[in-house]
């Protein structure tokens, strides 16, 4: 293969790694939006807490990769449910802005709470032995392989849960109609909590993978990654889960390409400008359904 095509193949691989992490977080945004039409701005910080839980499990408990991942996902899921029950549930009938502001507050609270414990960036130990394979000039690390395959597996499992199981059917039903679905015997509160738990667990998994791939973590890391994932969800059509995945892969691709062509500091500028343009042109995203406003 020529020099140039190897370079770009390598970039595609890097983009896949970043995109799968974005996709896992974007799914959480999209699921919550789909069911509550609420932007859970604290979601990026649940991802951050996930990364710190991974750090704790790896350093304090000395756990290997798989138990760390399971522990982190469980911890993040519990945190997600806790936030939903304490902060969002009382506001379900309040004006929508109240819920958004509360979410911002919860996010800031999580950041500063973590900051109180870890004022300095922390180094996450390597949990996966790093093996590099050389595939015709393109290098693939064991970590990249695990991140990409694990994310894809989680996404397939989620897709199955949402499309094929009773819980998933209940989720889709609630996002369709909130007045009559409870009358059909669907436990709305439970389903909403499950949605938050699943979304947060995915964010926890993303936190673990991020901490392994980019091993310096700090309490504010969730802000930027969270917003990016949120953009991915909006680009794909928020509320639509397959859209969130597509959006994440577009965003990851754009980011890596921008960095490959321009200085890396231009990344956020380009990404947010694209978001602005997209919202003005196609507010409902790539796969989203435009909302019809009735008078």
């Amino acid at each position: 293969m020529s020099e140039v095509s190897i370079y770009w193949l390598q970039q595609v691989l890097n983009a896949l790694q970043l995109s799968s992490i974005y996709a896992l977080i974007a799914l959480g945004y999209s699921m919550v939006y789909g069911i509550l039409t609420m932007i859970n701005f604290a979601h990026g910080d649940v991802f951050m807490v996930g990364a710190f839980l991974c750090f704790l499990a790896a350093t304090l408990l000395d756990l290997p990769f798989v138990p760390t991942l399971l522990l982190t996902m469980t911890g993040a899921a519990l945190l997600g449910v806790l936030i939903e029950r304490l902060a969002y549930k009382p506001l379900r009938n309040a004006p929508r802005v109240s819920a958004i502001i509360t979410a911002l507050g919860v996010g800031l609270f999580l950041e500063n709470l973590t900051l109180a414990f870890y004022p300095y960036p922390q180094n996450v130990p390597t949990l996966i032995e790093n093996v590099n394979w050389n595939l015709g000039g393109v290098s693939l690390s064991s970590l990249q392989l695990i991140i990409i395959s694990l994310s894809l597996t989680l996404m397939l499992v989620l897709d199955y849960v949402v499309q094929r199981t009773p819980v998933g059917m209940a989720m889709r039903a609630i996002s369709w109609d909130k007045t009559y679905v409870p009358l059909m015997g669907v436990p709305v509160d439970l389903i909403i909590s499950i949605t938050f738990a699943i979304g947060a667990a995915l964010a926890g998994a993303a936190g673990t993978m991020y901490a392994l791939a980019y091993p310096v973590i700090d309490p504010y890391m969730g802000i930027m990654v969270g917003w990016k994932a949120f953009i991915a969800a909006v680009v794909g059509g928020i509320g639509n889960m397959r859209g969130a995945m597509i959006g994440a892969f577009i965003l990851g691709g754009v980011e890596i390409m921008v960095v490959a062509v321009l200085p890396s500091t231009y990344r956020d500028l380009v990404v947010f400008s694209l978001l602005l343009a997209l919202i003005v042109i196609r507010p409902h995203g790539i796969l989203g359904q435009p909302r019809v406003q009735k008078v």
Partner: protein
């Protein structure tokens, strides 16, 4: 006795001279305090910060409270005003020779920011609610990212060595002037349009409200005020960088607005003042000073376990406060109400004939 006091209070509040008198006393104090060193520099600094925060909270309240949109762009507007004015005072205007030019720089900061307010106002014609929130957020991020990428103005390092030109009387005058401007806007026919848009955009359009024009005006006015506040802030801090104006700054202003209560100018004034003071009071040294009268048996463990850590703790307490306010006190201190002195007389009279009891402001019913 109480009844007499109540009547007296009511009568006092009705007086037309009350507000001008308060402003005049405030103005005299604002000039007297630095002149005669009535309070120390630290208290003066807190007062200046409170004034800047009042401008920020009141102007954000116009968009988030009165118009019912959710804008996150305020820190971005501040940044534009700050950078514009700083570049003018550092490189264009000979401020050292003619200090009066500083006022021009502040005004220019506000005007440039108002123009950028258009960038947010135009998408708001089509997009509302969550998506407009995202647009304002994207605007904030783009401003920050753009500033970080322009190396001529310091890039991520920012600009230091800004002359300290912001003074207490100046901030007082700007605060009074801008709050006055916002109050007049809110109670003008444009302000009625703003309220109508919040209640129902389509209905207000049918009732011949020029929604586009109202939105442009509201966004530009709000941005203008934020730009002025940013300019004043930069010449107080003497150092600015893109990081100063990030999403955390916007969140701070949001806390002030929602603590004070939406759609209330008096509420924003109270919210901003309370937040500024609270943030300062919660410093370890201040709390230790306030509680130093306690016996050592009580004070020492308290200091060891609580007060010494307040520097970090207050960063946790503030967002928690925001969440608690939203959960248990969604109207904030003065939500949808206002001081009688702020509401124009004709509105007060009209309202009194409509509803004899209760001193609420404009009778707009929100979906709370």
């Amino acid at each position: 006795m109480r009844a007499t006091l109540g009547v007296f209070w009511d009568r006092l509040m009705e007086q037309r001279w009350l507000l001008p008198l308060l402003v005049a006393v405030g103005l005299a104090l604002a000039f007297a305090i630095p002149q005669f060193r009535l309070v120390n520099n630290y208290v003066q600094l807190v007062m200046i910060l409170a004034g800047i925060n009042i401008i920020l909270a009141t102007s954000l309240n116009l968009v988030n409270g009165y118009m019912g949109e959710f804008s996150l762009a305020h820190a971005g507007f501040m940044a534009v005003g700050a950078y514009t004015s700083v570049l003018l005072t550092l490189h264009v205007f000979p401020v050292a020779a003619y200090p009066g030019l500083f006022h021009l720089a502040v005004l220019a900061g506000g005007l440039v920011t108002a123009l950028l307010g258009l960038l947010v106002a135009i998408p708001s014609f089509k997009v509302r609610g969550d998506y407009l929130a995202i647009i304002t957020l994207a605007f904030l991020m783009i401003v920050k990212s753009a500033l970080e990428n322009i190396d001529v103005i310091g890039g991520p390092r920012g600009i230091s060595g800004i002359p300290r030109l912001t003074t207490l009387p100046l901030v007082f005058c700007w605060t009074v002037a801008l709050v006055w401007l916002l109050r007049n806007f809110v109670y003008s026919s444009f302000g009625r349009g703003v309220l109508a848009i919040r209640e129902d955009e389509i209905a207000s359009e049918l009732m011949s409200v020029d929604t586009k024009r109202v939105k442009v005006l509201a966004f530009m006015l709000s941005a203008f005020c934020a730009g002025i506040a940013g300019a004043l802030f930069a010449h107080l801090l003497q150092f600015i960088s893109p990081r100063v104006f990030d999403i955390v700054k916007t969140t701070e202003i949001l806390i002030m607005v929602y603590l004070g209560g939406i759609a209330s100018i008096g509420g924003s004034i109270i919210g901003a003042t309370l937040y500024t003071i609270l943030l300062e009071v919660l410093r370890p040294s201040t709390v230790a000073g306030l509680l130093s009268w306690l016996p050592a048996v009580v004070f020492d463990p308290l200091n060891e376990h609580f007060i010494r850590h307040l520097g970090v703790l207050r960063m946790i307490i503030m967002p928690l406060l925001l969440v608690l306010v939203m959960l248990y006190w969604p109207h904030g201190i003065m939500g949808m109400r206002d001081f009688r002195g702020i509401i124009p007389l004709r509105d007060r009279l009209a309202h009194r004939t409509a509803t004899p009891r209760g001193a609420t402001g404009h009778g707009a019913a929100d979906s709370h």
